[in-house]
């Protein structure tokens, strides 16, 4: 196990180098430059040249790249052009809010998705299965920004139950977390439904039933554990998608996380913040994927990590 984890971590270093290099190229390939954006279209060419030099962007790209990689190794990404302070510090400050949002939405998605999936998968072909299947398709179809606005209009404006946007109290977390969780809930529910429906056709399920166990005991005691394997995998893989969704959700709800930070940074070509945030998010996704593999092997002893590695 340790050997596999170390091996995975070494592969992870390569992945992180790839992610860091890719984002370095992408932000510089995007048209527009930070100095002109910061100073505005009326800036004199010498002002733009001077600021470009101050930001270190007048150096040849290979020189910038080598210097950047050296900084990445030391987890230094330079100062944000907009915030005038270390970019990684800015990202770290916003990360707890995003983590809170992602954890809450993951919890909602897993609990709701598993419940719906078990209900539907336990009664394949029945009305409840059809309702859940149709509902999850609908949930996956709604654009996140639209669901967010609808939730604001219903729960904040019409019912006055929850705040419309911002942060600071647990109540502020509810709507953004639900919005972010909706498409993920549908994914978990559909996957669980399929997995449970398949498991329920296995011989050992018939054996359990023949022992006189109730349908609920069969479902929760025997089918659930095996059905969890693909769900755990999808949770690990879905972290990247959740991060993408968080960008939209944070903007709709003015949630002070990494998503809003990255949107502003991209719009203003704040390279340092984009690089720092992408690097950190890539690391988190990688760790979640590794964790998912480890849990996967614990849930199903037949699966050996060596083969997965």
């Amino acid at each position: 196990m340790t050997r596999v984890v170390v091996k995975r971590l070494l592969v992870g270093v390569l992945v992180m180098w790839g992610a860091a290099s890719l984002i370095f190229v992408i932000v510089r390939a995007a048209p527009g430059d930070p100095a002109t954006l910061l100073l505005g279209p009326d800036a004199a060419p010498d002002q733009i040249r001077e600021l470009t030099a101050k930001l270190g962007l007048d150096r040849p790209l290979p020189v910038q790249y080598v210097s950047y990689l050296g900084d990445v190794v030391r987890l230094r990404f330079g100062d944000s052009y907009l915030f005038n302070r270390p970019a990684m510090a800015e990202v770290f400050e916003r990360m707890p809010a995003t983590a809170e949002l992602m954890l809450a939405s993951t919890a909602i998605a897993v609990i709701a998705g598993l419940t719906l999936g078990l209900i539907a998968g336990g009664r394949p072909g029945k009305v409840v299965d059809r309702v859940v299947s149709a509902g999850t398709i609908a949930l996956q179809s709604f654009p996140t920004f639209w669901s967010g606005i609808m939730l604001i209009l219903i729960f904040a404006l019409a019912l006055r139950l929850l705040p419309s946007a911002g942060s600071g109290t647990p109540a502020h977390l509810v709507l953004p977390a639900i919005t972010l969780a909706l498409p993920f809930t549908a994914t978990v529910a559909r996957l669980t439904r399929t997995s449970v429906a398949e498991t329920m056709r296995e011989q050992y399920i018939n054996t359990a039933r023949s022992k006189g166990l109730t349908e609920r005991q069969v479902l929760l005691g025997h089918a659930l554990r095996n059905s969890l394997i693909p769900v755990v995998t999808i949770i690990g893989l879905h972290m990247g998608g959740l991060m993408g969704g968080a960008v939209v959700v944070e903007n709709v709800f003015a949630w002070p996380g990494v998503g809003t930070l990255v949107v502003d940074a991209v719009a203003n070509r704040d390279y340092t913040v984009v690089q720092a945030a992408t690097f950190l998010v890539a690391g988190i996704v990688m760790i979640f994927n590794l964790a998912a593999d480890l849990v996967y092997s614990q849930l199903d002893p037949r699966i050996r990590l060596e083969s997965a590695a």
């Binding site: 995007a30 048209p31 527009g32 430059d33 002109t36 954006l37 910061l38 100073l39 505005g40 279209p41 009326d42 800036a43 004199a44 002002q47 001077e50 600021l51 052009y81 907009l82 915030f83 005038n84 302070r85 800015e90 400050e93 916003r94 809010a97 967010g148 606005i149 604001i152 209009l153 904040a156 404006l157 006055r160 139950l161 929850l162 705040p163 419309s164 946007a165 911002g166 600071g168 109290t169 647990p170 109540a171 502020h172 509810v174 903007n251 709709v252 709800f253 003015a254 002070p256 996380g257 809003t260 930070l261 502003d264 719009a267 203003n268 070509r269």
Partner: protein
Amino acid sequence: MTRSRLLGLVLATALALTGCGATSGGSDSGKSEITVAGTYPIQNLDPASPAGGGNTGTNLVAQEIFSRLVRPKQDGSVEGDLATDWKSNSTATEWTFNLRSGTKFSHGSALTANDVAASFKRLLDLQSTNAKNFSGYTMTAPSDTQVVLKAPKPDASIPHKLVIFYVVPAKVTGEDPDFFKSPVGSGPFKLQKFDPSGTVDLVPNPNYYGGAPKLDKVTFKTMPELAARMTALRTGEADLIWGIPDDQLPQLQSESNLSVETVQSTAVFTMWFNSGEPALRDAKVRRALWQAVDFPTIIKQLYPQTGTLADSPISPVTLGYVKQEPVKYDPAAAKAALTAAGFDFSKKLRLQFANAEFRPFNQAVVSDLQKIGVQVDPLEKEQAVFTKDLLAMNWDVNFQQLSNPTYDAANTLGRLYTCEAKRNGYCNPSLDKLLAAAVATPDEAERTRLYGEAGKIIWDDAVGMFPMAVKYAYAFNKRLTGFTPDPNGLPDFAKVQVSGS
């Protein structure tokens, strides 16, 4: 656990979660505290830095924390802030500002002319976008209550230019991020909390020369999403919002606890033609294109409350505004003029703009031009791409909502339409002479006359189409009294009160 107990637990948790949050802040707090929900991010509190200088969010907060020599009034004129009076020499190259005595920073130390001069030097040293207005200028402090600003050439627009110059203690030099985490100023408010992720809390400055504001606290929250902003206002989570599209205004106007007011802004919809392009070099062609668009109808349809047909390249609240002869919609005459001028109807014009908010307006313009056979490709671009292409003249028609933070035509006509500016391919030495004369004339009436003549050339030569003068709509809770909508989207809260508190 039984099903009913489980349900009870879920409901109790939901109530616990929602109980305090739904109406936190805003009008239900009962104190003299208000929450302002704006669209602009406030990432930096240093208005002299390259990042903060041109940033509206930074300026919104900076004007509350820091004083200026002068500040703008709603009608576009300037009034003294730290300065009690000012005068120039006969050539407008030397300006003397007398400062009010006894002014203090929020931490209690005296503000002197030395702080003003040092702040000016810092502004120039940091080379922000605002510093370009003062290239080669120097400021000295002959006494504790007087500063003298010397310009390298005659500049009668100096008082207006100085509305974006803020005073910090003299000890602050260069970029000083630590100082601006908890800045000290002499404005009506002082900083209580700054979270660059979207919240700024201000509390009254007891040492403010005009007396501490009556509000206990002003909280600025960044809310980019319009639906969230409007909902926050309607539920009382926010007390003031602005930047509201016309189609949403009736909804807010129907709310009994809200006031909606519009104010003439400094902004004008400006659609430059690239006069450097062979197809658009002829003023007759440009004017015919303008004539082909039914702007009165477009404005009536899209901006019934916040738009009026423009009658000048600059706003009525700008020094130098003079009304011009309207361009009448006449598509038949437009087509005839284009044909007579040999316009190539097979050429597709590139119309660039930068914000989805302006998409319907630009699409309507494209549609009208198509009716007379002019093909236009509307290109909606991301801001960074738009700016790059704008400067590279990579467009045929360029749409911008041009506002003017200084309220002076020198900042728009004088800056954007000279041959040297190279902003729209138009070059007219006669116009250059007029603009140079206008900025060098200390007499305001004469300056206005000269800018009027310059505006007429720009208007008649159709350097661009100038379709709409923009009003800004503000919606606020009726419990706010003393609030004045600002023509530049930078409302001041020094005189705002909460009724009943």
